[in-house]
């Protein structure tokens, strides 16, 4: 399992009904591509976050499929239109089977 994994979510605490909000997400992760060689010339095994799943109270906001071409500590910014209060859930799926999650609530008035 990757060590020192930390997730960050940035989205507004409150919004008006129908507002389009910007969500920023990041997870600290080395995103080992599987293409680098160690000092003995042996390829380092691929170990990346391969999927980011974002839902709002169970409803899909977006699914991101990541490949080795994504930089270390993958960052994603996207928008969502909110009509009611609820909780955004984020899940990052690691090659090693680990799933890192984060949640953030928004209050819509």
């Amino acid at each position: 399992m990757a060590t020192g994994v930390k997730t960050r979510i940035k989205l507004p605490d409150t919004a008006g009904a129908g507002d389009v909000i910007t969500i920023k997400t990041q997870i600290t992760h080395q995103m080992e591509t599987g293409l680098r060689l160690d000092s003995a010339g042996v390829p380092l095994p691929r170990s990346i976050i391969h999927r980011l799943h974002c839902t709002f109270d169970g409803e899909a906001v977006g699914v991101v499929e990541l490949r080795p071409g994504i930089s270390a500590s993958p960052f994603f910014e996207f928008d969502a239109q909110v009509t009611r209060s609820g909780v955004f859930q984020f899940a990052w799926h690691d090659d090693d089977g680990a799933v890192y999650t984060a949640v953030k609530a928004i209050s819509v008035t």
Partner: protein
């Protein structure tokens, strides 16, 4: 065989050619055209409806900000033809993602024409490209 400098050099070169090249050989990755063709299928392609925002030139290929904006798209994909792995990222938008915009940071192995594709609800695929100069490749 007498061990001269010349035979040493030849042996060294032959050894590198023998073990060095297979060690670098990668499992077959689909090339960029195959990745693009797989996304498009037999859908009609148009060049409007999608914008790809990338810097014209970057020093550091390890972290390049890329923003794709494809209003109405169901799914988008980013392809870097000069990277070892051509497909970089794909995103499927849910109903709440009304702007169909995503920004991220990608690795670029060298100067190249990056391709962005978007699948629209009407069955068409939008395609755009953007050239980026890269001073230090980010896929080593």
């Amino acid at each position: 065989m007498r061990l001269t400098r010349r035979t040493m050099m030849i042996t060294a070169c032959a050894t590198w050619a023998g073990i060095g090249l297979p060690a670098r050989a990668q499992p077959a990755e689909p090339d960029a055209d195959e990745v693009i063709a797989a996304f498009i299928g037999d859908a009609p392609v148009r060049s409007d409806g999608i914008t790809l925002d990338l810097p014209e030139s970057v020093e550091d290929g390890y972290r390049v900000r890329a923003e794709i904006d494809a209003p109405g798209a169901e799914e988008i994909m980013l392809i870097a033809p000069a990277n070892p792995v051509k497909a970089v990222v794909s995103v499927q938008f849910g109903a709440m993602a009304v702007t169909h915009r995503v920004a991220t940071r990608i690795r670029l192995a060298g100067p190249q024409q990056v391709v962005a594709l978007a699948r629209m609800p009407d069955g068409t695929v939008c395609r755009t490209t953007q050239h980026t100069d890269v001073l230090i490749g980010g896929c080593g």
